[in-house]
Amino acid sequence: MRRRNWSIPYAIFLLVFVVVPLILIVAYAFTDEEGAFTLGNFRKFMMHPEAINTFIYSIGIAMITTILCLVLGYPAAYILSQKQFKTSKTMVVLFILPMWVNILIRTLATVALFDFLKLPLGEGALVFGMVYNFLPFMIYPIYNTLQKMDQSLIEAAQDLGANPMKVFTKVVLPLSMPGIFSGILMVFMPTVSTFAIAELLTMNNIKLFGTTVQENIYNGMWNYGAALSLIMLLLIAIMSLFSNEENNAQNESGGVI
C-alpha cells in the first residue's frame, strides 16, 4: 500500500519544525556569537550568582507548588473517583475546565482577587497563583488512575480484615502511584518553566528562571539563552525519566492492572 507515503509531508514538517529547532538549541548553547565551539555559556551561568539563585529559587517554588497541589489535589481526586461519594461527571469537568482558560487570564484573575481582598502581591500571591493555575494538572491524572483501579481489591482487603487506614496505605496509595507521578511531572514541569506570570503576581519583585531565559533571548543573547533553555530541558528530562522509571517499576510490581 502506497498510503504509507502519506506520512512523508508530516515527517518533513516534524523534521523542520521539531527536530531541527531542538538541535539548534543544543548548537547555540555550545557555541559563541562567532559560531565557534565553547563551554562559555555554561561557565557564565555557573559564575553568575543571580542566575543560579533564580534557578534554585524557581525549583523551590515549583517544589512547594507541586507539594501543595498534591496535598490539596489527592483527596479531591480520591473523592471524585470513588462511587461511594456519588459525585457527578459534571463535577469532574468543573475541576478540569480551568486548565483550558488562558493562563494570563487566570493569572490576572488571581491578581484581581488579591486586589479585591486587599491582600498584598508577592510570594504568597505567587504560590497561590501557581497552585490555582496548576492544581487541575494534579487532580486529572490521579483521578484517571484511581478510576481505573479495581474496586474489588479494596473489598478484598477489607474482607481480609484491614482497617480503613491499612486499606489506604497498602492498597489504594500504591495503586495510585502512577497517577501521582504523572501529576507531579505535570505540575512541576510548567511551574518550573513558566515565565511572565511570576512578574504579574509579584509586581515584578520576583523573577523565575523562565523569565531569565526569555529576557536573554529578547536581549539578543541567543547563545546564553539557548544554554539556559538546555539546562531547563535537562532538569525536566531528569524529572520525567525518574517518574517514568517509578511508573514502570510500579506497573511491574503492581501487576494487577
Binding site: 539548534l24 475541576f95 488562558n102 490576572l108 515565565f195 531547563m232
Partner: protein, 264 residues
C-alpha cells in the same frame, strides 16, 4: 453520611478556590468602574465599548488576529494531521514508533522550550517574524494533537471495508472519500476544536515567534497591558466571553467523546 458531607464540602471548597478569581472578573465585567473592586452599578458599558472598538482599537485588532491565526492553524493542522495519521497508520511498526515518538515531542515539551527552539529556527534562517511565523509555530504544536485524535478512529476501522470498496470498482480516491473519511471525521472535528482552543490559548510560543512589528494576539496584548500596570477594563468582559466560549467548546468535546464511547 457525615463522611459523605465532609467529602462533598471539601470538593466545593476547592471549586470555590478555583473559580473565585474568574468569578470576580465576571462579576466586575458588568460594572463600568475603571478600578476592579469598585461597584458603580450594573451596566453593559464595558461590553459595548469592547465591541465598538474606537478607543481600544488595538484590542479589537488583537482579537481578530487571534481568531484568524487560530482558524488557519487549526484548519491546516487538521488537514496535515489527518493525512499524516493515515500515513502513520500504514507504516511498518518501527518507522511508526519513531514517528509517534517525534509526534509526542511538542506535546511533552514545555512551551518555553518550544518557543525558544522555534525562535532560533526562524532567526537562524533569517526569516522575519510576524504573522506567518506565528501560524507556522501554532501548526507545529497543534498538529500532534490532531494526529492523536484521528489515530484511534483509524485503529477502530475495519481495514477490509477499504479493500472491499476497491474490489467493487471504486478508485482509491473514491474509497478514501466514501469509506475512510466518514470513519475518521469525528476524530478530525475533535482535533480541529482542540487545535483551535490550543491556538487561542497560547501565549509562550506566540511571544517568541511574533516578532516586533506591532502584531498582537490576545495573549500578547494582555501581557503588554498587564506589564504597563493598568489593566484595560475591557479585558473583564473579554475574559468573561472567552471563559464562556471555552466552557461551551469543552462541553461539546466532552459530549462527543461520551457519544463515541457509547457507540463502542
Amino acid at each position: 453520611m457525615m463522611k459523605n458531607l465532609l467529602a462533598k464540602g471539601y470538593l466545593w471548597l476547592l471549586l470555590a478556590l478555583l473559580y473565585s478569581p474568574i468569578l470576580i472578573i465576571m462579576i466586575f465585567s458588568f460594572t463600568e468602574a475603571k478600578v476592579l473592586g469598585n461597584w458603580t452599578g450594573f451596566s453593559f458599558d464595558l461590553y459595548s465599548s469592547l465591541f465598538s472598538g474606537g478607543m481600544h482599537h488595538s484590542l479589537t485588532n488583537a482579537l481578530i488576529n487571534t481568531f484568524v491565526i487560530a482558524l488557519i492553524a487549526a484548519s491546516v493542522s487538521t488537514m496535515l494531521g489527518s493525512i499524516a495519521a493515515i500515513g502513520i497508520y500504514n507504516l511498518k511498526s518501527r518507522t511508526r514508533a519513531t514517528m509517534n515518538f517525534v509526534n509526542n515531542i511538542p506535546i511533552m515539551n514545555p512551551d518555553i522550550i518550544t518557543g525558544v527552539s522555534l525562535f532560533l529556527l526562524f532567526v537562524s534562517f533569517g526569516i522575519s517574524q510576524g504573522f506567518t511565523t506565528v501560524v507556522l509555530a501554532h501548526i507545529s504544536f497543534c498538529t500532534p494533537y490532531v494526529v492523536l485524535s484521528v489515530m484511534p478512529r483509524l485503529k477502530k476501522m475495519n481495514p477490509n471495508i477499504y479493500e472491499a470498496a476497491l474490489d467493487l470498482g471504486a478508485t482509491p480516491f473514491q474509497a478514501l472519500r466514501k469509506v475512510i473519511l466518514p470513519e475518521i471525521l469525528p476524530g478530525m472535528i475533535s482535533g480541529f476544536i482542540l487545535a483551535f482552543t490550543l491556538s487561542i490559548d497560547d501565549f509562550a510560543v506566540t511571544i517568541f515567534t511574533i516578532g516586533n512589528e506591532g502584531l498582537e494576539t490576545l495573549s500578547t496584548y494582555i501581557y503588554a497591558d498587564a506589564r504597563k500596570g493598568g489593566l484595560t477594563p475591557e479585558l473583564r468582559p473579554l475574559s468573561t466571553i472567552i471563559f464562556v466560549t471555552v466552557l461551551v467548546l469543552l462541553i461539546v468535546i466532552n459530549r462527543r467523546a461520551e457519544k463515541q464511547k457509547q457507540e463502542k
